[in-house]
């Protein structure tokens, strides 16, 4: 049926459309069967994405969410740098998912985008709490404010997309895939805004977050995992770049931010091989894999790699340049497809 759905010739158009619709229903059914989060009704996959509905709150140094509303959709700049960066960053992230992937906000059903800034005192983190994004101001010694990085804003929102689609468990390899999804689409938000092709992009996550005292350029490098920082106090970036150096640990939910370097690099290698813009073919393949409905919540790297290859075949055909690029990328990072 997938082969039939790809037929472009006019004589096959009716059959191709029927096959595509049938596959869409299968995917929706699979999604409903496997997704642990709220299930988006099948019809919503075809809904035209609406504009973002953003609300930015200020916690004022407390840890109470959401805090005081300081800027809502359509308001002029608030004058608070962090609040305005969050507002703009949420808009950019919404636009990538809407324009490129046809997704109607985080949940596919127009979920309002809420974010809180100035969370806690000297809080050096950003997170997704299951409903909204939260950003700290940084401690000023290691970290600047977390809204400085668009890839970090995209990263947090993508945790929401993952929660409402594949629902990847936040532990071990599934957790590292969850983290990698956030890095992949966080990087794509930045590249899409800057209109950067693969070759011009930094492929860094969290560039500009470290203070000048830190020896490092970013939190992670998708192009060269393990090279983002090397600092006397913080130590060296621990990310592996292939299964040969996979890190077995009980810390960090089984190394979710560490082993994500492996699938991150697989995405980069796919994009590098194809050239052009990473949000096009590579982004579509990864997005389809994440949201298509057949990825289990406990997927391993191998299961995910096979799913990306299947998505490449479905979108571009078996033996296509895109299919080959995906297979070779996983081969390079030593994950068997």
């Amino acid at each position: 049926m997938r082969r039939l759905a790809r037929q472009d010739a006019p004589e096959f158009s009716v059959a191709a459309r029927a096959a595509k619709e049938a596959l869409s229903h299968v995917r929706s059914f699979q999604s409903a069967r496997t997704a642990p989060g709220p299930v988006v009704p099948p019809g919503l996959r075809d809904v035209q994405p609406g504009p973002p509905v953003r609300s930015i709150y200020d916690a004022g140094g407390s840890e109470t969410l959401p805090g005081k509303l300081v800027r809502k959709e359509g308001d002029p700049e608030s004058g608070d740098v962090a609040a305005d960066e969050a507002y703009v960053g949420l808009g950019h992230t919404h636009r990538l998912f809407a324009d490129i992937f046809g997704r109607n906000s985080i949940d596919g059903a127009g979920l309002p985008l809420d974010a809180t800034v100035h969370f806690g005192k000297l809080y050096d983190n950003a997170f997704w709490d299951g409903r909204q994004m939260v950003f700290g101001d940084g401690d000023g010694q290691v970290f600047e404010r977390f809204t400085r990085s668009l890839s970090v804003i995209g990263h947090e929102l993508t945790h929401g997309v993952t929660q409402f689609s594949a629902g990847l468990a936040y532990r071990n390899q599934a957790g590292a895939l969850n983290e990698s999804m956030s890095d992949v689409f966080g990087a794509l938000v930045e590249q899409y805004v800057k209109k950067q092709p693969v070759s011009k992009a930094s492929w860094l996550i969290g560039e500009g977050l470290f203070t000048p005292q830190v020896q490092g350029s970013a939190l992670r490098s998708m192009k060269a995992p393990g090279t983002a920082y090397d600092d006397d106090v913080l130590g060296k970036d621990p990310q592996p770049d292939s299964m040969d150096s996979y890190v077995r640990t009980s810390a960090d939910n089984g190394g979710v931010h560490i082993n994500s370097g492996i699938p991150n690099r697989a995405f980069y290698l796919t994009a590098e091989s194809l050239g052009g813009n990473a949000w096009e073919a590579p982004g579509r393949i990864w997005y389809e894999t994440l949201t298509g409905g057949s990825l289990p919540a406990t997927a391993t790297f191998r299961v995910f790699a096979r799913a990306t290859a299947a998505a490449a075949v479905e979108l571009f055909g078996s033996g296509s340049t895109e299919h080959d690029a995906v297979r070779k990328a996983w081969e390079t990072v030593k994950v068997k497809v």
């Binding site: 997170f127 299951g130 936040y170 983290e179 969290g206 977050l209 931010h257």
Partner: protein
Amino acid sequence: MKISVERTGGIAALTRVWTVTADTARARNQWQPIVEACPWDAVPKTVRAAAAAVEGSQPDRFFYAIRAGQRRAALPEQSVTGPWRVLVDSTRAASEDSG
């Protein structure tokens, strides 16, 4: 008595450790009530167990592993409240002061 607070996780996944050694009578008198105020027997002992007990999806959050003498506790940051918060903040402040 040695007190240590290890913070792991977060979007950067950088491990930070703060320690204090209460080795004088005065220091022990100062730290003992702060340590005793925490319900050590009511919380997980390992970060893994603490992570398993977290409800819902909360990616990129910190976890704390706390030690005071022979006692052990592990908590997600959202559970570091009340006496735990006093212990963590006091240890961090004292460690940063001495460092």
